[in-house]
């Protein structure tokens, strides 16, 4: 028996076993140690880079535009906070315990801080139930809750939220990247919605965060409130035109454009901003000194333009609540400062504008397109003393 025949026989007999063994070999070693990748996000934002998505991110589409809230509205006929409590009870009724455990959480500012501008593949710490996990009936109640808390102004409040959702489906369709999807946005109640006590409505996802805190039936704080959108240029999605943040940019550009050359020079910050500074997990990162031009030194017309810009954020909550907050900001307007970096038209990357008052804080940062070409904004409305309903 020649060696080659033995070899062939051995190959036939043992080849399979070798293959099995080979499967268990480490093969080429893994890449060398990369730094952990918070991706500009918060340290502790989740496991190292790579596409890790917790299972409740199903990447399904759950657009709210076509959802009919009539049944929810018939079930809860009150208004304002009372309606929110009624809708929250309606949503929780008969809900699967597993979902309910993630929807209804104890009141905690700690959990309220778990928001981000990033999509879920970059930031994994959000709380709540994803839109895709709700049944069609439940999704209608979710929409009714958003509408009741954020109001029905065109391109503001609920309408803005709906368009930012549509933007994620647009990104998903145009990039195929998993993580983008309207169904991946989340809602949670921190504390039980009730006539007495404190609770926070949490709604968040890629480029959006709604954090409305209620105390004994009244709105105690509507911040932090984050809005961004990509694409920024108008786009068609789910049968409608979407440009949710055009009027924000227009309002800022109008306020900056109304400044005289001397005022513009004064309003211009020497530093460059590639993002907002009081972003997610950076609560209270406010500068101690205000910069730019003081509204008290501006004309009445200029001050109105500034207030109009503020209203594009305050107007993201239902009108009666917004009116109360706006009235407060109006009384503090003289001590509210306006500053910018880059160009005052806010059309190019690294263009940045900031409104900094005794209470109000709004910043808007135009950034390079991340996923598709062009620019896209990040912005946040905060209240120096009222974030998370002034709770710690």
């Amino acid at each position: 028996m020649s060696i080659s025949r033995i070899t062939v026989a051995a190959l036939a007999l043992l080849g399979g076993a070798s293959l099995l063994l080979a499967q268990q070999q480490p093969g080429p070693p893994q890449g060398p140690p990369g730094g952990r990748g918070p991706g500009g996000g918060p340290p502790g934002g989740g496991p190292p880079g790579g596409l890790f998505l917790p299972p409740y991110y199903t990447n399904k589409s759950a657009p709210l535009g076509g959802v009919d809230t009539a049944a929810a509205d018939r079930a809860c006929t009150t208004q304002g906070h009372a309606k929110l409590v009624c809708l929250a009870d309606l949503l929780k009724k008969g809900m699967a315990p597993e979902l309910l455990a993630r929807l209804q959480l104890p009141y905690s500012v700690q959990d309220g801080r778990k928001w981000s501008n990033f999509p879920p593949m970059v930031y994994h710490n959000r709380i709540g139930v994803t839109l895709a996990e709700f049944s069609p009936t439940q999704l209608a109640v979710v929409k009714a809750i958003l509408k009741e808390s954020t109001g029905i102004a065109v391109n503001e409040g609920y309408d803005e939220i709906e368009q930012i959702l549509n933007a994620d489906d647009y990104l998903k369709e145009n990039t195929g990247q998993s993580g983008f999807a309207s169904g991946n946005f989340q809602m949670a109640f921190l504390g039980t919605p009730a006539a007495k006590g404190a609770w926070q409505l949490y709604y968040g996802g890629h480029h959006v965060q709604l954090s409305s805190t209620y105390k004994d039936g009244a709105l105690a704080g509507a911040t932090p409130s984050f809005r961004g959108v990509e694409p920024f240029t108008p786009f068609k999605e789910h049968g409608r035109d979407n440009a949710p943040m055009a009027q924000e940019r227009d309002a800022f550009a109008a306020a900056l454009g109304s400044l005289s050359p001397a005022e513009q020079t004064k309003a211009r910050l020497s530093q460059t901003f590639t993002d907002i500074i009081v972003g997610p997990q950076l609560d209270n990162n406010f500068p101690s000194t205000k910069a730019g031009v003081r509204a008290g030194d501006l004309t009445q017309a200029q001050r109105e333009l500034l207030l109009r810009a503020i209203d594009t954020y305050v107007g993201d909550i239902r009108r009666p609540d917004a009116a109360t907050i706006l009235a407060k900001y109006r009384t503090e307007l003289a001590d509210t400062w306006l500053s910018y970096s880059g160009t005052p038209s806010l059309t190019a990357e690294n263009d940045y504008v900031r409104i900094d008052g005794p209470s109000v804080w709004i910043e808007f940062s135009m950034q390079p397109g991340r996923t598709i070409p062009g620019v896209h904004p990040h912005s946040v409305w905060r209240d120096r003393s009222g974030d998370y309903g002034s709770n710690k």
Binding site: P29, P33, G49, L51, I277
Partner: protein
Amino acid sequence: MLRILGRRATALVGPLLAALFATFSTPTAAHPMPNSEISISPGADSVVFGIAIPEPELRLALPQSWGRTADLLAEPQRSALTQYFDAHFSVRTASGAAVPHVIQSITRWQAQNLDVGKYEELRLRITVPSAAGFDAHNFTLHYDAVIHQVPNHFALVYLDRDFHTGRIAEDKPVEVGVIRYDFRRDVTPPFEVTLASGSIWRGLVAALSLGFHHVLSGVDHLLFLASLLIVSPLRAIERRWSLFQGWRYTLRRFLGISLAFTVGHSLSLLLGTYELVHLPRMLVEIAIALSVLIAAVHAIRPLFSGNEWKIAAGFGLVHGLAFSETLSGGGLDPVTRAYIVLGFNLGVEGAQLLAMACAMPLLFASRWRAFNVLRTAAMACVVVLALVWIAQRAG
């Protein structure tokens, strides 16, 4: 067919070794970030810093504004860049005395991030050599590159390699803090580095244990050696392997092959650890699988009888490069690297001796004819395994 494969494989060795020494070191880590990252690798009394900065953000912060296409690594930009980092990087002792630093290299790297996709990143290697009163585990880092001008930018600080606490392998860098602009005080505060100091012995033990386990868990290293050693009692007669040729013959060949392998991998381990030689990881891994294949084929039918030690030495060089992969990549000062190579090599030899001591008595079996069949069958399995490895590692 096997012989053709064997010849081809042997013919590959020469060019491969030539390529080995022709290629020079390039960094291999990928840092996902639009922020900056600073890795700290303390040595006995010096520190190596690795700093990675996304180039688009850096351009915003440089005092001069060059066009987007101006190469920052070409003159006069490069000199300006060096000046910029000298102004925005400094190290002080705990008592506040300034310690000189040396910018050793500035290179460009293609980085990728989930959020921003691909982008260019500049990497600096800065060393702080030993200086009076300087404690490599306790100092203050004054760093505000990019951050002074782009205050939303921040730098994550990591502990990378630290021989004295046994962090010598591919340990994941540990985050030790963040350098971030303080808007309340309008400054970038200095960063206090306070690390556990450890000892040389802890580092040596860690290096030794790493080398030991690396060999014992690296089936490919062991199979290569085993395939060469299994024919040490045999002699090639008319292109066939003989039976046992006596203890003296066996022992001489056994030790010769082992020694040649040790010399080969020690040399390239040294070169690789000092980053004098670098081959793409995939190529090294494929070459190792190839070495297993050649050795196993040779153990079935002699291809280079009497010259096993040359193959052992030649491919030893390649195996050593794979060993150095586990050690290189981090910034370590030359003295610390020498300690690591020493400890690691002692571990490798220890494991090798242990494996050989276990295998030696088995060679006694080559007195019997059945040994030939068993050897051929076993080596055929190794051939298949090596082929699978080659396919896997190339794919």
